[in-house]
Symmetry: C2
Subunit: 444 residues, 2 copies
Amino acid sequence: MRLSRTFLPLLKETPKEAEIVSHRLMLRAGMIRQQSAGIYSWLPAGMRVLTNVANIVREEQNRAGAQEILMPTIQSADLWRESGRYDAYGAEMLRITDRHERDMLYGPTNEEMVTDIFRTHVRSYRAMPMNLYHIQWKFRDEVRPRFGVMRGREFLMKDAYSFDIDQAAAERAYHRMFVAYLRTFRRMGLTAIPMRADTGPIGGNLSHEFIILASTGESAVFCHKDMLDKPVPPADTDFMGDLAPIVDDWTSLYAATDEMHDEAAFAAIPKDKRVEARGIEIGHIFYFGTKYSAPMGAVVAGPDGTEVPVHMGSYGVGVSRLVGAIIEASHDDDGIIWPESVAPWQVGIVHMRPGDAACDEVVDRLERGLEASGRTVLVDDTDQRPGAKFAAMDLIGLPWQVIVGPRGVAAGEVELKNRATGERTTMGEAELMNRLASTAGATA
Amino acid sequence: MRLSRTFLPLLKETPKEAEIVSHRLMLRAGMIRQQSAGIYSWLPAGMRVLTNVANIVREEQNRAGAQEILMPTIQSADLWRESGRYDAYGAEMLRITDRHERDMLYGPTNEEMVTDIFRTHVRSYRAMPMNLYHIQWKFRDEVRPRFGVMRGREFLMKDAYSFDIDQAAAERAYHRMFVAYLRTFRRMGLTAIPMRADTGPIGGNLSHEFIILASTGESAVFCHKDMLDKPVPPADTDFMGDLAPIVDDWTSLYAATDEMHDEAAFAAIPKDKRVEARGIEIGHIFYFGTKYSAPMGAVVAGPDGTEVPVHMGSYGVGVSRLVGAIIEASHDDDGIIWPESVAPWQVGIVHMRPGDAACDEVVDRLERGLEASGRTVLVDDTDQRPGAKFAAMDLIGLPWQVIVGPRGVAAGEVELKNRATGERTTMGEAELMNRLASTAGATA
């Protein structure tokens, strides 16, 4: 792809309204544009990252046996009256009246609707375990939306809902999502720590928030230091097998948000292993039993023919929020540092002399070769000065940068820069292809 | 994928509320569930088709040089006041008041918002040609929504917007979308005919509706018979080259909707070449000049430094509507007949004796082999009777069906059925793999 034909409106100035670094960098790197308070358009570079993030979420949901559906954004108020939440939900719910004066709303979440789908079509325990998810825009009318896509009003969320015959089966469903989340976030280069969360009137210990550490985090968090470098389960994990040992291992060390913090338990950890930091919530999994299935009549016949309300759980990932969270976790003074797995383009080619026949030829060949090997490539073929081109590549944060200039080309060489380490190496074209092709797909 | 673990709620009864065949079949095949009037959830099979359709649209937009963005569903009324459409748009616009009493709306289309994005970031003619598109949910509050996803209230649409320095350049942008649409619809197995459409006060001839013929179509259409079997431009068409000859060729034969019909011109066609039918609109392309850019101040400096309002066009495809339209065009008494390119699964394996070790082994091997070759596969591993299994495969319309039973397996054979022709052929496993693998990707 050629920058000269790409809509990538970089800003020189730091936008005043942006309070945190991810918001600043997303605006400066031409990823988003605010349309109203807390409502954003995603420009091409932002859209590419959002798509990459959503695809990783989707792949890991599918791997764990969840099935993708798509529920609409606009819901009937009647469903929410059945669960009792229509009146209980506050001003954050965007309430709408249609032309026939029917009460509608823009869904802030989908427990009621998915329970309705289930009760309509499923009558027997044999259809379970079942986990239905969708990746859809939600709306929560925050009083004071801020921090860009981190706390927007219209936001993209993956929400999954599990249906099981009893609590033991629901626990297995919970474990599958727990493990899927570990893999999902790690694939985006994040160290997400599952922390016990409040279960409210449901009780039990089946509620975890997945938190990344960042100085701009919304809440204080506390955990054992060893949580920060635990390896996550591999891609060939058997999700139909027993995942309890993995979950037990991950929950054996102390990790809690402010809300659930236990000062005494934390003090029992060796001092050099105590981590106190701020955290950003990027996922939340929650078992809520028959909270919706009982009032809404989502019952199935068990093996003995008796009808029982199904046990449910819900599992959310903030997809649009993750784009901001990844930047919070991975940037420097020059701009964003994208992990390869979600980068808008994995390789940037800085074409130092567009129009120079020898350079053009090398750039064309590298672009075609890298794209053929499965890499996404952005070629800066503009007539900007070299310094501006280097700064742009660092600002938008492409993981690999290849510099092609006349002197190098005459010597049969190009330069490769690693955005994360800053390391620059001069090498021949063949070696470059070898290096970049050899790591393709390694992030999966 | 195993049917026993797939949420595919088939209906035996024909739903009474469904007036047209696509609506009936989508409900019976477990593709959608109505949540409110004109508002649907997409269940797994439906979601897979919707995704396939959207991806073909996306690939052809990208090929034609359009860039994907994503604008939000909720818009500020202020933008629409700038264009004068906020008051002009009738009751179909879903108007919303947020918690701060601001007037918002659920976007029925995005001319205003995309013009706002453009005017904010683009100042020079050198950024053009530019074409920005998104695939996003829209809402139009139809008085009487019907025909399932064909005329819903919440619907998925691809809308692209082109920006050019003058009318001649805008015409070239129009040609690119014209050719992209020919390719898009043909890849879905559709014969879409571009028909001149009303340009209203803009005038000129740069407005075409893309129509497929179907007895349930909403309007009468008239065209020259040769329009029905014209080959579409190939994948390697140079979209930056001159596409006028292709467009001229496609517009040289008579084709018009009721609205634009010219009885005299139609009568001049040889009698055996006149086609009178009913049609379904699946796309619409439209040049509207400076209609939005002038009032909204979207101006750029031309080569001589003079500021001029940009010339724009818009290009819509009804993505969710297409799922219904494809069924209207391709079904029989037994159910849907999916083209391979959009089928929820390309191959269905009817496992006649789950639990029989020899059959299990063949089914497992075929499933793995076909999936490795890039095919999507659904294995019916349920304990339904054979007749019910065959009927289900035909109802959900999988293009290729492989029957694996104990007698065949003992003889080293399986049976392959072509859903479209009904042809059944017995062959060895190796030959089957050869046949199905050899056509993979041929639809692209």
